[in-house]
Amino acid sequence: MTDTIQHHLTDGLLMAYSAGTLPEAFNLTIAAHVTMCDACRARLYAFDSVGGALLSDQNCASMAPGSMQASLAAAKAGRAAPSPPRRRSILPAPLISYIGGDLADIKWRPVGMGVRQAILPTDKRASARLLYIPAGSAVPDHGHRGTEMTLVLQGSFADDTARFAKGDIEIADEDLNHTPVADIGDDCICLAATDAPLRFRGLIPRIAQPFLRI
């Protein structure tokens, strides 16, 4: 899987994810991509190392008296939360808890022309949704005000810039207007996150936009 990925995260996004300053919807999308992509995982761990170096270099703030004993007592009293159980799924693991299950449990809502979506619960600074695009169908032509990330989970799509297959992530910004079209052959499922509403160019989608919450 990991070797076939052509489209990766940017350094800016990886550094911000490592620093822990991104909206939750972006965190989720990045965690899902990194689960599938060892190249970006290595880059992410390198950015974590920058954090480690900065921490080592940090000015000290002296701890309260007795703090070490208090911390040790808390450590011994508590137990680390157990890791979540592993599941075999076509979905990357970070998505499972947001869906509350697997692919079959996604609550799709039609948004027109055969395209379906499911909005995932995240903090309000950005939104995340799953998109289901039937083979050969298009998502309406749209531009972006902020950043939009689209991660392919199944199938593939192409737009004016390139073709994106499973594991690939497209980072779109204000300069890109595009009409993603799912390839013939397999329905396409994507995870899309954006920190601003999309701008659709046609009239109908624009009227529908408040209802679709995209």
Binding site: M15, S18, A19, E24, A42, L54, L55, M68
Partner: protein, 225 residues
């Protein structure tokens, strides 16, 4: 010249032994280690690296619930974690509480530390960062799924040493960055610079550490399959 540490045996007891051997003096004698691709980078014989000291401490906590090792780590890291949290906008009280939590988490998760993928300082940074997000942002940061699935193979000792060396090189490189550039990177990590404000060309020399980590990941994938 290569580091002649045996490849790791499978059982935990010998793993622990091998883990410790890495830090035995023998491995730090002149000319023993040379792992970089050109063979040109060597660990100076007389420098006891901080990172390897902390790695040993975490190993002692994991294996022996060693409270002295905890105290040593606490003395070094807790004030730095507190400083990091205050710089990120926490009050002194909150920062104190969170720094204690971070160190308690370190104790509880010592068995999860993999020194072939992160230095001790890096691993502690990730715990502190997660605590900071919980405390200050009341937000969530989902993590990628870990690669290891089932019984984890012991880290390759050459990988551990190479990663340690690369981490130290990176630390030195960051300290010697021009002030302006260093300030930008600190702002990204401490002051919520948005991702679009972070340049995609950070000028950080991450090539070596990235390829070291990638090798360790490939080895782990290979072992898991």
């Amino acid at each position: 010249m290569t580091c002649t540490i045996d490849t790791c045996p499978n059982d935990l007891a010998s793993f622990t032994g091998a883990f410790r051997n890495v830090f035995a003096a023998g491995c730090r004698t002149p000319g023993v280690m040379s792992i970089e691709k050109s063979g040109s980078v060597q660990v100076p014989a007389n420098r006891q690296s901080d990172n390897s000291r902390w790695t040993v401490c975490i190993g002692r906590i994991r294996d022996d619930a060693d409270e002295d090792a905890f105290a040593e780590l606490f003395d070094h890291f807790a004030p730095r974690i507190k400083g990091y949290l205050i710089k990120s906008g926490a009050s002194a009280t909150l920062a104190e509480e969170c720094a204690q939590d971070v160190m308690a988490t370190l104790w509880q998760k010592a068995h999860q530390f993999d020194p072939s993928r992160a230095s001790a300082a890096t691993w502690i940074f990730t715990i502190a960062r997660n605590r900071r997000i919980d405390a200050l942002r009341k937000s969530r940061r989902p993590e990628p799924e870990d690669i290891d699935w089932g019984p984890e193979p012991p880290p390759d000792q050459a990988d551990v040493l190479a990663l340690e060396q690369a981490s130290e090189d990176l630390s030195r490189a960051i300290s010697s960055l021009p002030d302006k550039q260093k300030a930008l990177i600190e702002a990204a990590y401490f002051h919520d610079l948005s991702h679009s404000e972070i340049a995609d060309q950070t000028g950080l020399p991450l090539g070596t550490i990235k390829s070291r980590i990638r090798l360790a990941l490939d080895r782990l994938r290979h072992a898991m399959n």
